[in-house]
Each structure stands twice: as structure tokens, then as C-alpha cells.
Amino acid sequence: MKTWLDSWPVYRQLTGSDPLGRGKAARSKATEATVSRTATADRVVKSVCPYCAVGCAQNVYVKDEKVVQIEGDPDSPINRGRLCPKGSASKQLVTSPTRVTTVKYRRPFGTEWEDLDLDTAMEMIADRVLEARRKGWQDENEGKRVNRTMGVASLGGATLDNEENYLMKKLYSAMGAIQIENQARI
């Protein structure tokens, strides 16, 4: 009975320290159970913002293998835990419902996207790279040895890691592709 009555805020008003019912007496069950997403995260992973080049350090909170919060890392000497609106939106960047997470394929002269298996897509791309490489191959140009292909070109964005850029340049150079460019030019 006491417990039941105690769950009625009016009773708490009448008996407690908050007669006007504006504070302690008015607290709800959900309020009492309040807990921060940061407190229940399984782990905090150290990362870096992908937008501009200031290089703000980020803390990525992960719960059940989902990103639940991204915010500035206060340890960083550069951003001291702060983020701009884009950096602050980077959780949305990761969890966006409009993100496309499966392979899409448009056949020549096609009018719609089609679905494609990832492995199949990789094999098809490899076929096309070899063919384009062959088609555009030059042993020489204007009498000078060039051993390259003009059939394959590439343009990368500047959210590529150093490691990715390195592997790209290495692979492209080995296959003889030279028209390899990056956002850095823009």
C-alpha cells in the first residue's frame, strides 16, 4: 500500500520535501532510470574526423557493434575535444539510412540499377581492367619507351588513407596505369 501510494506523486508532495510538486516529487520512473549512451557503450574507439584537414580526434562509442555516438576526443592537442557541425554529424554519416551498402550495377544502355553479388562484381571489374589495360597499352610513345596503359584512369578523394593511397599507386603503377589523380589536385 505504501509503495503503491508512494508511486503517486501527490502522496510524495504531501509527505516529502517538495510540496509544490516542481522537483523531486514529480520525477517519473523513466527519469529515475536515466542512463547516458556513453555509459552503456561496450567500448570507445579512437578515430579521426573524415571531413576537413584539421584532423580532429574523435571518440567513437560502440554498443552491440553499432556506433551510438561520436564526439571529440578531449585528449587531442589539436581540437581539445571540440568538433564543428560536420564532425558533429559524423555519426549520421556512418549510420545514415540512405547509405547504399550493396553493390549496384548498371549495364550498358540500361535504364535501372541491378543488384550484383560482391564477388561477381570484383571478377567482372578485374576482367574489364585487364581488357582496358590491353586496349590502351603503349610500349612506346613518340619513339620513347613508356610501357604503360592509357586505358585505365582513376580519381581518388581525400578521405582515402595513406595506406589506401599507397596500395592504389602501387597497384596502378604495376599495371602500367598513369592517369592516377586525386582530389589533392582540385
Binding site: 520535501s17 509544490l20 520525477r27 517519473s28 564526439e71 571540440r82
Partner: protein, 353 residues
Amino acid sequence: MTISSASPAFTGRDPENRLFGPLPDVTAEAGYEEEHPKRVGFFTDTSVCIGCKACEVACKEWNTLPMDDSHGVRDALGLSGMSYDNTGQLGANSWRHVAFIEQSRAVDLPMPTFGRPGDDRAGSGPSPAVAGDDVSLADAQQSVLNAEALSEYDPQTGQSGADKQIRWLMSSDVCKHCTHAGCLDVCPTGALFRTEYGTVVVQGDICNGCGYCVAACPYGVIDQRKDDGRVFKCTMCYDRLTDGLQPACATACPTQSIQFGDLDELQERADARLATLKAQGVETARLYGRDENDGVGGDGAFFLLLDEPEVYGLPPDPIVTTRDLPAMWKAAGKAAAMMIGVAVTAVLGSRRR
């Protein structure tokens, strides 16, 4: 203790300032025992705001608020035409709102005079006796302030060319978490309540969408989300506070325009900042919501502004409506008595058939 006897709302006797006036410990007044945390708040120093809106996004990310347009219409988009402000106002979906005000004035004075080229006014800084380690290096660099620069310091104003000054005021508005909060006072369900941190928060599991708080807020902060029915506003990240974190907006703010902390400490900081600006000749600087003698007993979130409050869309002298409530109850009581009187007179004054 009964409610009516305890209630200054009915009696009008309010020696403890429960309805109006300065209230040193609002948290205790709300029933929290001695051990409660100190009251926390925001000090928003608009003189260093760069209008980046990180506060708005960080707030929405943390609180998962819906997208809306400058009139608060959910899931709508459209250019407002109000400088760079496409948020428009505080509301159910926007708990931080950065205002943008463009102003200009002609400069009819000649440019300030300056010394002959080659004049070297520098090199007068004191050199620390021992300067080998990092700290003293930083100190040495910090110790030589450019006095001339400080005297001409005018935040958010750029002399643009020789003839014109342009001022682009930017200010991040937020719920004021008033000492005397109209929304909280009028809420009939207890959905709005004061937390142990002295902040004012809506309990989503309680609110029944009566909308009274919307009409009662003198700042026009709280609003109803139409499709949901309930009202929403800034919680000062109540959940984060329970984890010892700062609110999302203050955490993100790149220039520390939004500062979070214990209210008394923030007030001290703000007073010092105002004094500095005044000393530098920034006559338009003033604190807003800092004064505990104002109409709401002072704000938990207060501001340093560079122009009149209404220029930013803020009321110049807000007063919590509850201040006048005893008078209203009295009038209502009298009017009700009058009704009885009239009815009795009417009945007694009519001949019975």
C-alpha cells in the same frame, strides 16, 4: 504540511521567493536534500561565436531530433532568407538556435592614425628569468599582451574597408533553465520538473501534450511536436550529466562560446569577461539573464550579448507569469464569489410563482 498552506500561489505570501525573485538554492526548493549537486548552467559568450552551428548538430545527434525548416515544420527544407539562419527559432526540434544578424554602419572618422613606418614599439615585454622549459616559454609568450590591440578589440565586428563597418552578430540561443520557470510552474502533470542539477526537463513518459507550457514560456522556447503531441525542449543533456559529461553542444563548441559548468563559477567568469570587454571599450556588451533580480530570478543559461536582446529575438525584460498568479487566484475567487452572490440575489429577488 498541506499544499494550499504551503502555497504562495494562493496566499500571495512568498517570503522564500518560491514564485519570484532571487532564489539562492533552487534545487533545494525543488525538494532535493542537502547533498544535491551544484546548480549547473550555460554561459554563452556571443562575442566569440563564429556561427558554425556545431552546437545545433551536436545537440540533434545526441538527442536524435528531427530535421525541420526555419518555421519548425518537420522534415521540411527551405532557405529562410534570414542571413545564414535556416533554423529560425528554438522549438520542439531545435534546442539550439544560432541567430545571425547583419548590421553595418558608415565610418565617417578617418582611419586611426598610426606611427611612422619602422617604429618599433615592441620588445618591451618582460623576459622571465628562467625560460627553458615549455611552461615558462608559454608564459613568456603570453605575458606580452598587445595593449594597443586590446583597446581596439571589438568582437564580431570587422572594419570592412575604410568607409564601412560591418557587424555580423551570431549567438547560439538555448532554453534558459530559469530560476522561476514558467513552463515548469504551469505544467499540470509534473512532466516538467527540476532536476537535481537545477535544470528544467520534460519527462517524455509523463507529458500529455496539454500545451500549457508553450504559452507560459516568456522566451518562446518550448514547443509541441505536432505529430507526436508532446512538448520538447533542451534538457541540458540530463542523461550526459548523470555520466559526468558536459552537454553535447558545449562539448562541441569550437570557440568556447558555449561554456558549461557550475552556475556560480560561470557567473564569475561572465562578470570578468564583461569587465574585460568594457575595459576594451566594447560599450555594447551586456549580460543577459545573469541578474537574479530579473523577472525570472536569473537564468540557468545566460548570455553575453553585443546588442539589445530583441535584436537577437530575445525578450528585453521577461517576467515569469507566476509572479502574478496570487493576484489572479484572488481575482478568480472574488469573481466566483460574485457569481454566487449574483445567483443568490437573482433567486431571492425573483418572486416565486
